[in-house]
């Protein structure tokens, strides 16, 4: 395992090669570039394997109801909340995701169905690991795909180029490039009322030229604190009428603040758990509905809050795998294969379900039990990285995989 990051204070050039430049350079560079607005990708990782089939319901599929006698979400009936909300005559949205409907209608929300990882594992642990490392099937990968994106040098890079709104750094952002994990903006700093001795002492201790993960993290921490203090993202309130609810809502609210404060966030990781519905998943009501409600509220608020700035933002939901097409008799489902992703953003080709629908007839199911995969998650992420963030070398982000435009699901204009 490589030592995670080095901080070579000696050579500015060396810093540039790691994408990390002293603030004075960054400001100068940014000034030179003019106010080119930063593009941001926000990942919303649904941990626990979200059931795509009850999230975006293929109600037009005759097998759907017979596979799920008690937990199927009924086909749309006149816009009622006790059934799917029609999207395109074949697919419907779970009613708990109602806040997403306006985004769909405005065409800033796209859906990709039957997307996921080609690896056959049904282990949460492994599947999440593969999806975050970006190398399904390969366990020896040290770092995450988001961190590898950060390794392409950016002269205007700030300490917040890679951010995770979590108490610990996720696999996806682990690696040689610096990234900041923060449980909350509020708590991100040394408390103790302006204790400068402590601040200076710690900064000094961790600044020692020791190449280990503890020191490296310390250095990133102090750079980030300093930067954040100057940028002061917490002064940005949500837009009028926008209310964020729940823990996940709170996380996205802070992401919005960071974006508005122009701190240079490029790759953001957020997560929302609790999707492992082996029992009591339910249909219109149930555990899944409760989680979708929190997710939908948060995504809806995020989109409304950023307003015009959504032009520069793409948010992608993803989950480690989907769930069995057939319900399991505990009003739940077991681990499956492909699932569904939402893609939100001002520049998104929304209002359509992208990807190829494989069907739910017995011969069409993966291993006779799960929704089959037709879009590799790396094709979806690859498209967003290339067309939204301008990443040029996808092969470095997804080693061992040739993500080609012909396989992009078409969520962004070419």
């Amino acid at each position: 395992m490589t030592s995670r990051r080095f901080f070579l204070k000696s050579s500015g050039l060396a810093l540039v090669s790691f994408g990390m430049v002293p603030r004075v350079f960054a400001r100068a560079a940014a000034a030179a570039q003019g106010a080119a607005r930063k593009k941001t990708l926000v990942v919303a990782f649904q941990r626990g394997a979200c059931d795509g089939l009850n999230t975006v319901i293929p109600y037009g599929e005759s097998a759907y109801r017979s596979l799920r006698p008690t937990i199927a979400v009924p086909a749309p009936r006149g816009g009622g909340r006790d059934a799917a909300l029609d999207l395109d005559g074949f697919f419907g949205l779970h009613p708990a995701l109602e806040p997403l409907l306006p985004l769909w209608q405005q065409k800033s929300l796209a859906v990709v169905h039957a997307v996921g990882s080609p690896d056959a594992t049904r282990s949460h642990f492994d599947a999440q690991d593969y999806m975050e490392s970006g190398t399904p099937g390969v366990k020896s990968t040290d770092d995450g795909w988001m961190n590898r994106c950060l390794r392409t040098p950016d002269p205007a890079a700030t300490p917040f180029r890679g951010v995770s709104m979590t108490p610990t750094l996720p696999r996806a952002l682990a690696g040689g490039a610096p990234a900041v994990a923060m449980a909350s903006l509020q708590q991100f700093g040394l408390r103790g009322g302006g204790d400068t001795v402590a601040a200076r002492s710690f900064e000094d201790m961790y600044g020692a030229a020791v190449k280990d993960v503890v020191h490296g993290t310390g250095q990133e921490t102090f750079e980030a604190i300093d930067f954040l203090k100057k940028a002061d993202p917490m002064r940005y309130r949500p837009a009028a009428g926008v209310e964020y609810r729940g823990r996940y809502g709170d996380a996205l609210k802070q992401v919005a603040q960071l974006i508005k404060a122009d701190v240079g966030v490029e790759l953001v990781f957020t997560e929302i758990g609790g999707w492992d519905h082996h029992a009591a998943e339910g249909g219109v009501q149930g555990q899944l509905a409760n989680r979708l409600r929190e997710l939908g509220d948060a995504l809806g608020a995020f989109g409304r809050d950023l307003g015009d700035r959504m032009q520069d933002v793409v948010l992608v939901t993803m989950t480690e795998f989907g769930r069995t097409a057939r319900e399991n008799g505990n009003r739940g489902t077991d681990h499956g294969h492909a699932s569904v992703s939402f893609v939100l953003g001002g520049g998104v080709r929304g209002g359509a379900v992208r990807g190829r629908w494989p069907g739910l007839a017995p011969g069409q199911l993966y291993e006779g039990r799960d929704l089959a995969l037709t879009t590799d998650f790396r094709d979806l992420l690859g498209e967003v990285l290339v067309r939204h963030l301008g990443v040029r070398d996808l092969a470095r982000v997804f080693p061992g995989y040739a993500a080609v435009p012909s396989r992009f699901p078409g969520v962004l204009p070419a």
Binding site: R122, P167, L169, R191, G218, G273, N330
Partner: protein, 620 residues
């Protein structure tokens, strides 16, 4: 690693009198011996004969006024220091380095005086004691736990006295359904606030019927776990129980698990932590907490009679969320079948025994699940949860698991699977690997793991023997192993409290802080438990939380925790002096320089906060 350029382990002060191998070096002198020795009046003399329990002196540590000890320390300092001389920073003795390492790996870190006590007893004798915790008296810890009433209660009592009564739950469900029916679309936000208000109202109403709120149960478990880590003399026992609770993780936030996890730890894990692995596995498999957490209690042969949602059986399941509120059409469906639930079958192989690469297939998962149908809980609805094998749920056919035929035969099939898994070579390797990762390094040396696995196989899974093989291995003290591991938040909090001789009258705040560091005790949702490697815990936010806790702890700003300032160091004690109390092997050159330049003349309390937040203190 994190100790910069300490001048090697060979030079340095000699050991105390009576030690066979006093090391002489050009700089060895009496001053160093005194600093390393424990304080005067309370010094722990250990009889030369049979090794008495080390704790008899250590536990009185907490009741003796610290001022006395500090005075004693000053006295010995004064007697031996040549006039006007200041203690220099010299490297600790080689033996002390090993002792500190052992205290950090087999326990939650040294308290002031621990190093001396272990040195006098002899390191291998101390390790041997720790390997037999039943020989160590822990009455001081027991006294501390007395005030946590719920710890004494079993699941039944907890459910009876701390769980909302049935009527309350029914009321909540009814009200919830009403609210959802009435709420117009888009108004769900108000709905949530109304629901929260209603819940509060309900709690008030039923408060009188309960001995305490439901959340008290988990809160006390969390506090107890912290108190044990900080104060138990059976340090290795606590480390090992923590290891197994993580290995056989359950999530207290899932339904009634919160009322069953205490008994799980007490009756399934703790008594088997040192015995045969198969017994531990079986105890875990049969525990209501695990059966509920991984859904096996619901698992049934789809064709079995009682699988149909009829009668009392179906209604009981319905109450615990298995069915959820039924819509009219569903209720009318006759013979709705329950089915096989693979959750436990997968995790018992992937996480508890063989490991994800242990060579099982999806088919094996299904077959194992079939074997375990019928392993369920009875009495949950009557507040008397216990394991039962329900024939009516069981799949009676023959199964093939990992190439072995298991003939249909009731409960014995599950036992056969347990035996098969416990004795599989892959299990010996996986469990040994995990133990080695906990005790030795994030990537433990291959030969060490192999030897431990061999011990596992040879002794048929005798955990004590395997642990002993690991902690007495030559690799255990290898330079690459020293300070190689980064403390998890739990280890950090416990070691900080120990190093600072903290007096914890209420561990609630500490436990809340652990949650914000990403490690809420008993509340890890995925069955994988908490990660055991550095990468998982060293992040900007994790580090900040530690720095803040270090400063708050030393300054007495953590509720329920008090630090005696004189315990940390008498006025005028140099950073080095304070450091040696908290970090017996001393600071790195870099940290020492920082403290001298930035914090010269700062009070010991201040220095302590900085040392507890230092890079060195994050490691073990």
């Amino acid at each position: 690693m994190g100790r910069g350029d300490d001048k090697g382990e060979e030079s340095g002060g000699g050991d105390g009198p009576g030690s066979a191998d006093v090391q002489k070096s050009p700089r060895a002198n009496v001053r160093n011996v005194t600093i390393l020795r424990g304080p005067g009046p309370a010094r722990r003399e250990l009889n030369a004969g049979t090794p008495p329990p080390v704790q008899s002196h250590m536990s009185t540590q907490h009741t003796r006024p610290f001022g006395q000890r500090a005075a004693g320390a000053l006295l010995s300092l004064a007697l031996t220091l040549p006039a006007g001389a200041a203690p220099t920073a010299t490297a600790p003795a080689a033996e002390d380095v090993k002792i500190v390492h052992a205290l950090n790996r087999l326990g939650f870190g040294p308290r002031p005086g621990d190093v001396e006590a272990v040195r006098r007893l002899g390191l291998s004798r101390w390790i041997d004691q720790q390997l037999h915790p039943e020989r160590i008296d822990d009455h001081a810890l027991d006294a501390r736990l007395l005030s946590l009433r719920t710890l004494q209660l079993d699941s039944s009592a907890l459910l009876a006295r701390y769980d909302l009564p049935r009527e309350a739950k029914r009321e909540i469900q009814k009200k919830r359904a009403e609210m959802e029916a009435q709420t117009p679309p888009g108004m769900e936000g108000d709905d949530e606030t109304r629901k929260a208000a209603y819940r509060r109202e309900l709690m008030q109403k039923y408060r009188g019927q309960l001995d305490g709120p439901p959340r008290q149960v988990v809160a006390e478990l969390q506090e107890a776990k912290l108190l044990r880590a900080i104060y138990s003399e059976r340090q290795l026992d606590e480390v090992l129980v923590d290891f197994w609770m993580n290995h056989f993780n359950v999530f207290a936030g899932k339904g009634p698990v919160k009322f069953m996890v205490g008994q799980y730890e007490r009756d399934a894990i703790r008594p088997h932590a040192w015995g045969r692995f198969e017994d531990l596995l079986k105890a875990s498999a049969r525990s209501p907490a695990m059966l509920f957490y991984l859904d096996n209690w619901l698992s049934a042969d789809p064709d079995a009679q009682a699988a149909r949602g009829q009668g009392r059986f179906g209604r009981r399941r319905a109450r615990f969320g298995a069915a959820g509120p039924q819509r009219p059409e569903e209720g009318r469906q006759k013979g709705r079948k329950r089915g096989l639930n693979e959750n436990y079958a997968r995790e018992i192989m992937e996480l508890h025994t063989l490991g994800v690469d242990g060579g099982y297939t999806q088919k094996d998962v299904t077959e194992v699940a079939r074997c375990f149908t019928g392993w369920t809980i009875k009495g949950l609805g009557q507040d008397h949860p216990e394991f039962t094998f329900d024939e009516r749920l069981h799949d009676r056919g023959d199964k093939v698991v990992l190439g072995h035929v298991i003939k249909g035969g009731g409960q014995g099939e599950g036992d056969a699977v347990i035996h098969l898994l416990a004795t599989a070579p892959a299990t010996a390797r996986f469990v040994s690997y995990k133990l080695a990762r906990r005790f030795v390094a994030d990537e433990p040396p291959r030969e060490l793991v192999d030897r431990a696995a061999e011990t596992f196989r040879r002794t048929q899974g005798d955990i004590r023997e395997v642990v002993k093989a690991i902690v007495t291995a030559p690799e255990f003290y290898a330079p690459a192993t020293l300070s190689a591991k980064v403390k998890t938040p739990f280890e950090f909090v416990a070691s900080a409290a120990r190093a600072a001789s903290a007096e914890v009258s209420d561990a609630g705040e500490l436990s809340r802080r652990l949650a914000t560091m990403g490690m809420p005790l008993y509340m890890q949702q995925p069955p994988t438990g908490y990660k055991d490697t550095a990468e998982a815990w060293v992040s900007t936010s994790g580090l900040l939380a530690r720095l803040n806790l270090a400063l708050d702890l030393a300054a007495g700003r953590v509720n329920g925790v008090s630090i005696n300032a004189t315990a940390l160091g008498e006025a005028g004690l140099s950073p080095d002096g304070v450091a040696r109390r908290l970090l017996p092997t001393g600071l790195s050159e870099a940290t020492r320089k920082t403290l001298q330049s930035e914090a010269a003349g700062a009070p010991s309390v201040k220095l302590a906060g900085l040392i507890l937040g230092s890079p060195e203190f994050q490691r073990r």
